[in-house]
Symmetry: C2
Subunit: 144 residues, 2 copies
């Protein structure tokens, strides 16, 4: 009896993660779609924003995709002048990525909707609940 309850509770948790993630990506996805972009573009914008001058290789490792999968979307972003590249001074093989001013504006809009969403939820839940949520998420994320 207790096992069944635990199993049902864990299945509920699975659904929370599934529906939570879906709700979490919903708003940026709509903004992106209106510009003909996809979730990949957001991920690139996001990680370049957080890691200015990141190399292609490092970005590939973070995103865990092949360079062919990154190449297309990244080229679009560069053509749209949302991302700028320059050769690394120390090693002219590597290209460092940065957001342009326009890129920062879009990234801010996209990520802003998510920060607002999470911010509202955290404010309502309280600091201890927020900390607990982070601990649990960190443990989930670090599992291999």
């Amino acid at each position: 009896m207790i096992d069944l309850k635990r199993e049902a509770a864990l299945r509920d948790a699975i659904e929370l993660l599934y529906f939570g993630y879906r709700a979490f990506t919903d708003r940026p996805d709509r903004i992106l779609a209106s510009r003909g972009l996809g979730r990949v573009h957001h991920r690139v914008l996001y990680f370049v924003a957080r890691n200015p001058d990141i190399s292609i290789q490092d970005l590939l490792v973070i995103l865990d995709v092949t360079k062919q999968a990154l190449n297309g979307p990244l080229r679009q972003l560069i053509e749209m002048k949302l991302v700028a590249t320059r050769l690394a001074p120390s090693d002219r093989r590597v290209r460092q990525l940065r957001l342009t001013y326009e890129g920062e504006k879009l990234e801010g809009r996209l990520t802003g909707t998510q920060m607002q969403q999470l911010g509202c939820v955290f404010d309502a839940a309280g600091a201890p609940a927020e900390a607990a949520w982070r601990d649990v998420m960190r443990a989930i994320a670090s599992r291999r």
Copy 2:
């Protein structure tokens, strides 16, 4: 200063959700790939398991996809004898979906890895942290 810290904390939370979800789907994805199946198939198996005799229409609403997107994977699952259908006694237009014994076995393996993962994390975090995590996830999921 405080605003910048808050912003950085919210960006951390965004990453936790991104990497957390990725780690969460990793293991089922591998099992599925070894059988030539994808994440859609898992979602179908999961929701049919939780809602025996669910109709196609209701499944479409839960998954939030078009019937064309569901049709292919579902047909595969039926051909592989993992899902069975029968006409609803009350309305012979609707087809009720159920897992076969083999379907239950696979669904249990797939979802089992996720339950184990979440179970370990919850056990380590403690019941109050688990409850707080659920509250926060519920709030995120219910935002539109």
